[in-house]
């Protein structure tokens, strides 16, 4: 399993990234810090405006819930005190998705990972790196990055986002588990996904390395 990432693909936004992970393709654009509207302005930190657009049609309550989850995660990871009275606008556009309407975990996972690259591209200050993994338990077996049709029949599914500090996934930033599962299963999944997250982080490093070399290609 690997990411396929392109950064800086939108020339008019401050940071952008396109990510393919499994059967999901997503495009994230970030503008900021920019001037907020008066009602968005916070006196001591940056406000976040997150807009999620579905792959077809207009956004509904389903996207609202996703926006809320993403906001909770990102507002704790961006150093918002560095940009008081400013606005950071993040637009997430899904291009291809692989799950039915009732599920959002593959999308959430792709959005989180893509936001990381877009934030890096926008050069916004972050407390730490982060990486997200999606796992499901299907008749007793742990499966990472499940495709949509397996997801429907799975017993439980989990979106797990780790904080990467010093190249180690040591803190749980975000966890969204649904279905039916025991405490034991949960901790087995957590233990197993830690190493997966660290491998993914090494991939992130390679991608960012290439991106930075490309930024300074004229040197």
């Amino acid at each position: 399993m690997a990411f396929q990432v392109k950064t800086s693909i939108l020339s008019n936004s401050d940071g952008s990234a396109e990510l393919i992970i499994g059967g999901t393709k997503v495009l994230v654009s970030i503008s900021g810090p920019i001037e907020p509207k008066i009602r968005q302005e916070l006196p001591n930190q940056a406000s976040l405006d997150i807009i999620i657009r579905p792959y077809k049609g207009l956004s509904t309550t389903r996207e609202k819930l996703l926006e809320d989850k993403l906001r909770q995660l990102l507002q704790s990871i961006i150093i918002r005190y560095k940009y008081p009275r400013q606005l950071i606008q993040i637009v997430v556009q899904f291009l291809i998705i692989d799950e039915i309407e009732e599920f959002t975990c593959n999308e959430l996972n792709a959005a989180i990972n893509c936001c990381y690259f877009a934030l890096i591209d926008a050069d916004l200050a972050l407390y730490s790196s982060f990486v997200s993994v999606v796992a499901c338990i299907n008749s007793g077996n742990l499966l990472l990055n499940p495709p949509g049709d397996i997801l429907i029949n799975s017993d439980s599914h989990h979106v797990i986002c780790y904080n990467i500090e010093n190249q180690k996934a040591n803190k749980l930033l975000f966890l969204e588990s649904d279905g039916e599962f025991t405490e034991e299963t949960l901790f087995t999944i957590l233990a197993k996904t830690v190493s997966e997250a660290e491998t993914l982080h090494q991939e992130q490093r390679k991608i960012i390395q290439a991106k930075i070399e490309n930024d300074y290609i004229w040197k």
């Binding site: 401050d14 940071g15 503008s31 900021g32 810090p33 920019i34 001037e35 150093i79 005190y81 560095k82 940009y83 008081p84 009275r85 400013q86 890096i120 926008a122 050069d123 916004l124 200050a125 972050l126 407390y127 730490s128 790196s129 904080n163 990467i164 500090e165 010093n166 190249q167 992130q204 490093r205 960012i208 390395q209 930075i212 070399e213 930024d215 300074y216 290609i217 004229w218 040197k219």
Partner: protein, 260 residues
């Protein structure tokens, strides 16, 4: 280059801050706690230098969005005025910065430049506190209003820094082989450039009426200057995405149509 890649969350390997006097630059965040703690917050190349008991750390990275810092030379567009200040936009959608009516060289109450919306100024940031509105001034030599015959365009911030700070930078030297130009580089990623007489909006000025015979000439030199300006702009825009050995080629491509 690879060895010094640093990402947010990585360990910052620096000397003990209790023994070294530490100066931090972009990309490093100091926790506002009683016990100082530094973390890297931006992805990029770590620059760390020590000297006797001092150390300097910063992270070099590229971005498109400019955050004002003191003493930065910037190019901005006047978008309005409020009280005794002009509002100057340094980038699209950024919070405008203020420029006092009096912050011009030799300005007095009676004699001060009257700027219109849309005019371009070259100034220096004097107030960069994030908590209050930022301010610029145009007092230093070279600062002031940039005339309308130049062309303003955007480049990445890292490239703008390279052009402005590196006196031996090859980009402008190469360009100088092709044409004469005047340039103003803003750290905010805006560049004002003009070749020869630059881009004149109206050819027929009232003062030119006397020598109407020369009209044809003025026209042709003006078109030539315009072409050169646009070619130079194209060259600089492209230069930030190619390797240095391809630079000459890019330059020739950009000026191919102009020189004939």
């Amino acid at each position: 280059m690879s060895s010094s890649l640093i990402l947010p969350g990585d360990n910052l390997e620096i000397e003990d801050i209790s023994q070294y006097k530490t100066t931090i630059g972009p990309g490093i965040y100091k926790f506002p706690t009683r016990e100082p703690k530094f973390i890297p917050t931006q992805p990029g190349i770590l620059n760390h230098s020590t000297q006797s008991n001092k150390q300097l750390i910063y992270i070099e990275s590229n971005s498109k969005r400019y955050i004002p810092h003191k003493n930065d030379l910037v190019i901005g567009i006047v978008v309005g005025s409020i009280g005794e200040f002009y509002k100057v936009q340094l980038q699209d959608f950024s919070t405008p910065v203020l420029l006092n009516f009096m912050s011009f060289a030799n300005a007095t109450k009676k004699n001060r430049p009257n700027l219109k919306n849309g005019q371009v100024v070259y100034g220096k940031v004097t107030v960069d506190s994030i908590e209050i509105e930022n301010e610029i001034e145009c007092i230093d030599e070279g600062c002031g209003v940039l005339d309308d015959s130049g062309y303003v365009f955007n480049v990445n911030l890292n490239f703008a820094r390279e052009l402005l700070y590196d006196a031996n930078s090859i980009f402008l030297k190469l360009l100088a082989n092709k044409c004469q130009f005047e340039i103003a580089i803003g750290i905010n990623g805006k560049i004002w450039l003009k070749c020869g007489e630059g881009v004149k909006k109206e050819v027929k000025e009232s003062e030119n009426k006397e020598d109407e015979d020369d009209d044809m000439d003025i026209d042709s030199t003006n078109v030539k200057d315009l072409k050169y300006t646009l070619a130079a702009v194209e060259y600089l825009k492209k230069a930030q995405f190619v390797k240095q050995d391809e630079l000459k080629q890019v330059l020739n491509v950009c000026f191919k149509n102009v020189e004939n």
